[in-house]
Symmetry: C2
Subunit: 297 residues, 2 copies
DNA sequence: AACATGATATCATCCTCCTTTATGTCTGCA
DNA sequence: TGCAGACATAAAGGAGGATGATATCATGTT
């Protein structure tokens, strides 16, 4: 009975011989000696118990059986070559996909310029950014669904994730013309309780960070507005609907031109940070590694 | 730079490990030791300069790069397995094709019953019979276009073909009622010159054999009719259009029932033979070999 | 016919590199 | 903290493939 071939090297030699129609030429291609090729073919024929080539004066030709086998083996060999080629592309960053978890904020104020540069350098790499709340991003990271996350503190740091601070950010309270009386005064945090506040909604880290800080100072706020995006908060503040609580960057433009001003308090609001978080258990794709390098991680 | 892997065995191991998600299990499947698998994977990773697996506490998992590669390599491995399976089928005569060159005559009076038995035994094997004149059949045999030929003597025996006689046949002259005067007389070959003869046309071996024999006896014939098939000759003879020259088998039925009779001559017409001709340079497919065996070759 | 040529087959030897055995290391779990 | 399971490492030994020389065979040439 015919055995299954337990040395795929034989098939490689077989492919070359079949294609070249010559043991000698195949040997040259494979950088081995002609007797080695002759032996390999013989071994393969012995294992399969079937003549694969007809030996002629000038070279060899496939038999019917050899022809059948070659059809399959050649395809297999091609597949492997193709796989190696794709892998090579991936290593050359000519192919690949990066999955990032980031919030609107980290994306806009930190990641975007890097992604731009990265994409310019490696246009073939597809970059997918999942826009999710920090806790979900961390979960995605643990599950290996993203290569890394960019989140803002504070977040529940899991022991098995590794976070690197990449940028400092500050939460500020901003207001428009209508709240001019507060301008240039050193305010007490308590006064926030009486102001019509405009905050981010839900479980964002921006919101939870601020609430935690205020709670420590025995301040309890009741926001007038809870909005989905920081941009929207700025717009509300511009229209004097209240005092907005945002990361300073969001309001920078209007602060500089004087349309908004920043409230000053007698207690320093703790700084927050952007962190790039990685999962050491999940080895990164070459592309992701490269992007992280660009980020200075 | 990434190298091309020069040991396909590594890929086999890679496949098993990837599928099993465990070095130990893969080692079991491959009937080799766990360290051997570990080494193979390491070698592959070294050659490709890329981590293919993430080592976990319980087993291994493919990295992004490994995943990419596996897609291709698995397909390749499947192809090879499929090729081996097909080959196995071919060796079991569950798959295949036989090409035979044969004339109408050899097919009808010799080959047909064998083909019937062969097809009954191996219904999956496709049999193709090329119906061509003997010289063309021999050419096809030399070119490897057919596995073997079945022809009738005489034919120009080429040194590199091998012929085996499988059956004796006799050329006879048959006539109907109108030619009764010739019946039971011992005729001289010369008398053929005066008869209205019905022969095969062209370059068939039947015709050339007969002409050569008659020429040796200084007889020159001028056939009244030259027909394409022996059957047609019999029909013409039945209608008393002349004396037909055919292989006896074609007329047997009518000879037995008396519709035709056979002319007798004072010189014995040499016997002819059916030969199975093979080309020793062209190794036969397993199926063809088997059929030849059935033919007693 | 004898010979030169180009190809494959064979053989003995050598050496590479893979396999194995034994052991180390790490992780997760009880 | 200790155990069990899984992968990694190291050293040694051996199987089997590669090599180089040579034989053989077919072809085409003079």
């Amino acid at each position: 009975m015919m055995e299954t071939v337990n040395n795929l090297e034989y098939y490689k030699v077989f492919c070359h011989v079949a294609r070249a129609g010559s043991l000698t030429v195949a040997a040259g291609e494979l950088n081995i000696s002609q007797p080695a090729v002759s032996q390999s073919v013989k071994q393969l024929e012995r294992a399969l118990r079937v003549k694969l080539f007809t030996r002629a004066a000038k070279g060899v030709r496939l038999t019917t059986e050899g022809e059948l086998l070659y059809g399959y083996v050649a395809k297999a060999y091609e597949q492997i070559a193709l796989g190696e080629q794709k892998l090579r592309q991936m290593l050359n960053l000519e192919l690949g996909e990066i999955h990032i978890g980031a919030s609107d904020m980290t994306l806009q104020f930190y990641l975007l310029p890097y992604l731009e540069r990265f994409h310019e350098k490696y246009p073939q790499i597809k970059v997918a950014v999942s826009n999710a709340p920090t806790p979900e991003t961390l979960l995605n990271l643990q599950d290996g669904k993203i290569d890394f996350g960019v989140v803002s503190t504070p977040f529940e740091s899991r022991s098995d994730l590794q976070a690197s601070v990449v940028q400092e950010i500050e939460d500020v309270f901003v207001a428009g013309r209508k709240f001019i009386p507060y301008k240039n005064r050193m305010l007490d945090l308590q006064e926030l309780e009486k102001m019509p506040l405009i905050c981010l909604e839900g479980i964002t880290s921006t919101r939870s960070h601020m609430e935690a800080f205020l709670r420590q100072n025995n301040v309890l706020i009741h926001p007038e507005f809870e909005l989905a995006t920081s941009d929207m908060i700025v717009q509300f503040a511009l229209r004097n609907l209240g005092v907005g609580c945002v990361v300073r960057e969001f309001a920078r433009e209007y602060l500089e031109e004087g349309a908004l001003f920043e409230l000053r308090f007698n207690r320093i609001i703790p700084k927050r940070h952007f962190c790039v978080v990685t999962n050491p258990r999940n080895p990164l794709s070459v592309a992701a590694k490269n992007l992280l390098e660009l980020l200075g991680i």
